[in-house]
Point group: C2
Chain length 313, copies 2
């Protein structure tokens, strides 16, 4: 049986294997994704973002628990932004989640970033399709959303959760002022710590309702203590409420259109990259030489590459 067929039957090992092939940009992965694509679009995608140390993984772990008690299957894609160089993934925080390893309704996978800038987005969206086609009801995409690509990915979710925590430092909180506008739900984790009330007030002051047509969504602030599971049920309830809101006002389709646009654009980029790498006659090397010796400029060189591509059509 081929990989795609096995994934569609819900085979977790096949899904894990396929995601590895996607990370490696193996041609068979692209073929399998083509087969899977018509089977996708059923899962609900949740983005979880926040600074390092706020407890994203612990929260994700609690959300898994709640979803499982409601008999929903869950997939998790954890993006490790800094593992580009080691090639491995940050396992420390994921270890806790491994208690779900024996649960067939849970699939957890770390995704390492590597290669070209669009590669991460392409791999993450591909991995989401795999879990979707595999039949997971909910897919959580977790990432430190501080990079541009990482932020794009988390914004492409159906519901985006921003996790914050008291004492994470002023700078971090200021940084979040930028991300806060893309949050549908704000989770204030470690809510037993000093500074929670102050942070809650700051967040509430920063939040603005999202206007969609004549409708408004004011992101709720949910207090959690993920180390003991407190508040996780309320977070899931907020996700479901946001989902129903999007459906009720017919905005879910539009939101998913944005995700499709992102995926189309990374696929165009990726295909272009393939074409450029296959250009004959070492044009790229020659252009890099010319750039280094000042014989051309980046823009002129880029135009040359694309006009060459057109000629080779």
């Amino acid at each position: 049986m081929n990989l795609a067929a096995a994934v569609i039957k819900g085979d977790a090992r096949a899904a894990a294997r396929l995601i590895t092939l996607i990370e490696d940009e193996a041609p068979e992965a692209l073929d399998a994704l083509e087969e899977l694509y018509p089977r996708t679009g059923r899962a609900y995608i949740i983005g979880v973002t926040g600074a390092p140390g706020v407890g994203k993984s612990t929260l994700t772990d609690c959300l898994i628990d709640v979803f499982r008690k409601q008999n929903k299957s869950v997939g998790v894609i954890a993006i490790d932004p800094t593992s580009a160089l080691t090639g491995g993934a940050l396992l420390g925080d994921r270890i806790r989640m491994q208690r779900h390893a024996a649960d067939l309704g849970v699939f957890i996978r770390s995704l390492a970033t590597r290669g070209w800038t669009g590669g991460l987005a392409k791999a993450a969206l591909g991995a989401v399709h795999v879990l979707d086609a595999m039949g997971q009801d909910f897919i959580i995409v977790e990432t430190v959303g501080s990079g541009q690509v990482e932020l794009d990915i988390v914004k492409a979710a159906d519901t985006t959760i921003l996790v914050m925590a008291p004492g994470a430092g002023d700078e971090i909180q200021m940084m979040k002022a930028g991300i806060i506008e893309s949050a549908d739900i704000v989770v204030l984790n470690k809510a037993d710590l000093l500074g929670t009330k102050r942070l809650e007030a700051d967040i509430s002051a920063a939040l603005r309702p999202t206007e969609i047509g004549d409708n408004q969504w004011l992101p709720p602030v949910v207090l959690t203590e993920s180390v003991n599971g407190k508040g996780a049920k309320e977070v899931v309830a907020a996700v479901i409420k946001h989902w129903h809101f999007l459906k009720y006002i017919n905005a879910l389709k539009q939101r998913r259109r944005e995700r499709i646009k992102l995926e189309l654009s990374v696929n165009i980029e990726s295909y272009l990259k393939e074409l450029v790498n296959n250009l004959e006659g070492n044009l790229l090397d020659k252009l890099v030489n010319d750039l280094q010796s000042g014989k051309t400029t980046p823009r002129r060189a880029a135009r040359q590459v694309l006009s060459r591509l057109r000629k080779e059509a």
Copy 2:
């Protein structure tokens, strides 16, 4: 006088204006960059990265001081990864640097991330060219290197400095395990804090020499207390040592080649984006519709866009 000519004469206002135009991807910015390009390649580029709160800006501020005392001019490009949504830049930490505002030998500029994934890299490299053509001796590019694009940019420097601090949290330290391999110099800031010795030992254990041909560079670990300027001179000395090392072993040119490759690739991407956006007949909208209704797949759609591009040549 046109912008490019004013920049070449060292006009800071013209430089600031041009960088804004580059951020906005204005056509006149591209023209000006074409003019500037032959005047670049003289400045030495230093990348400064590290987690939020470790004191990157404070260190940068100290480095400016040291360079100025050596009568060198300095340009700073500070990349604010999370300001995509507010459109503004994080000013809190930059305020300290503003004491250099009256010093004509110092040019400081924040760069907000926005738009497409390659846009940030393209703007950052463009801004570096502006400061280079303007005549700055050293250019510091500062960024939280936790995103993939941000990491690419900082790795494209001549010398990359990783800043760490005790007590920044285990998770952050683990994350840095990935970045540490691209560091030429590690700065251990806030070295008066408890935990410095332990962190220094951990870092030293994680560091491996970089092999370039028959030569080796073992990144030095420099202890600093940037709030009072301690250690900044030693950091600058380490930068100069690394520079001389690269020159001595003839590796600087190769290293700059990598930066040129990155720039060529973001320029190809950017030009492609322009071509795709100008495609006639709403092909993109049609493809997004087809994707949403399951009539095509992302890869097929991407191929269609590129074959259409070739036909319109």
